[in-house]
Amino acid sequence: MDPGRFTRVDPTTWRIEATGAMRVPAIIYADETLITDMDDKVREQAVNVATLPGIVQASYVMPDAHWGYGFPIGGVAAFDADRGGVVSGGGVGFDISCGVRTMLTGLSVSDVVLVQKSLAESLFHQIPAGLGSEGAITLDAGEMDAMLAGGAQWAVERGWGAPRDLERIEESGRMAGARPDFVSDHAKERQRREMGTLGSGNHYLEVQAVAEIFDATIAGVFGLARDDALVTIHCGSRGLGHQIGTEFLKEMLATAKGAGIELPDRELACAPIHSEVGQRYLGAMRAGVNCALANREILGHYARRVFTHFFPNSDLRLLFDVSHNTCKVESHLVDGKRRDLFVHRKGATRAFGPGHESLPAALRSVGQPVLVGGSMGTGSYVLVGEATSEARAFSSACHGAGRAMSRHAALRHWSGRAIVDDLASRGILIRSPSMRGVAEEAPGAYKDVDAVVVAAERAGLARRVARLRPLICIKG
């Protein structure tokens, strides 16, 4: 995008004033290089979001943004239900509550390197990943509804997780207000055999090394030290979330029309929060969130099982579990007053600063861990939420590196085999059923994650705590 089309507020804040149908400004957080490299569609989509009824303050865009559906990926927008605000299925996306969890292993890099190859093979064979893989769990109707209502708490009760994990998961592992009865039979059928599966695309399980510490005090609170080994899992609500997203997108198109809402893009299909469809979507979407929380808890349990095989005394402790495709009711300060808002984050991470009441006691004094996934070759980051983030973007930050190149273009540039061999020579083992899938996820197809997190830090969204480098990456 041409930065000249924005008002430059400061080196990492770019603004488009509200004109035409826009109800609020659009604000993009990025440095000049990142914004220049973004597709023009990001601007168009941020402006479109700013036209939706009941939007509060601004349509925000995170530094890792790229062209999405309706909302840009990296889009954040809050709506006030009592001022005509809407909930948008497109604003949450197809993979409801897709997110990341990071677990401390208590092991060092040198421990992992000793068994790196066999650990990679074992994780690859024990973690169902990709199309055609089958999970070991089949849910009957009763268990499906219990899972959709109970989230990670349900998984823990069934023995697929640890009770101590729950306080380290957003919503304490269970999203309130879930309505399994609002989830279609089709969506439930699609999920029946998918619990404990990783999925494909940009989803992964990684064993990582803490490569660099930026803030030793907060790293200490998080339990991170240089050369520690970690496990990070990125996945979401699998087929169930996809089906809910698909079905409500269609229904909300008609609802928006009926409510007289002019949609600049059909993918922004939405419904007034105070409407039957809006409430039904929220109930189903929250059930989708629980599905994702349960799924990541089960995958974490599987990872523990594999680690216990190699390291009988290992104790994988959850650092935190965050979601980045959600709509959540949160209290935020707007013009000096606290208001309950429906905050949509589409490819953006919640980033509560120090003192937030929802954080567990052990983390409350420093703020929420913000887990930012990079590419399989470059690394990831652990950030911490900043107090300034609330005023900047309703306590939100980036969620990943963000794609710089389409899958299509990546496939023309790289071969999966060459990537696997190249990374192996650098000590990173990739395991995937598809070399084409690896090529589509080539490290070079992503933005510079270092630049993204620095921009997030300079913009006051979240602060760097640690950089992680991959040792093993399991791709679906």
């Binding site: 569609k41 559906y69 197809f94 494909s200 996809h242 794609r403 299509h408 060459a418 899938g437 070079g444």
Partner: protein
């Protein structure tokens, strides 16, 4: 990392093509009728997942309805994605009949064989992004949208 410029381009194969989208994949089918364009787009959907041949061993009937041709196209792709997911199948042959707002189709395919099909990704849903079903200047119909993977 070395570039592999010999990798085969996947843009266009006969009556379908893939086009780029930020993180996902756009697909377009062409044919003499909307039904043929829908069938070609379905082949493009399968090609998002695998380059390997898919044997037409079993047939699965699908029926979709939508208020207009564009929304019917999204319904059609989503019906295929649904059947892929719940049956753990890939489909390689398609037959479509469109009667007003209603589509009656058959998908022929086989169970996913991970070793042989090496699925590159798993489509999540067809979107309204870049959605267009139209008769082009040369008289052929095209049907296109972006699929979230």
């Amino acid at each position: 990392m070395a570039l592999n410029c010999s990798a085969p381009p996947i843009e266009r194969r006969g009556d379908w093509e893939h086009f780029p989208h930020g993180a996902d994949v756009g697909l377009r089918g062409r044919g003499a009728t909307p039904a043929q364009a829908f069938e070609a787009a379905a082949r493009a959907l399968t090609a998002v997942v695998t380059d390997a041949p898919v044997e037409p061993r079993d047939g699965v009937p699908v029926i979709c309805e939508a208020p207009d041709l564009e929304l019917l196209f999204v319904e059609w792709l989503n019906a295929i994605i649904y059947e892929m997911a719940v049956r753990n199948m890939l489909f390689g042959r398609f037959a479509v009949r469109i009667e007003g707002a209603r589509l009656v189709g058959t998908l022929w395919g086989e169970r996913v064989d991970v070793a042989r099909h090496a699925p590159a990704c798993e489509p999540k849903g067809a979107t309204y992004t870049e959605l267009k079903v139209a008769k082009e200047a040369d008289g052929a119909w095209s049907a296109a949208c972006v699929v979230d993977v």
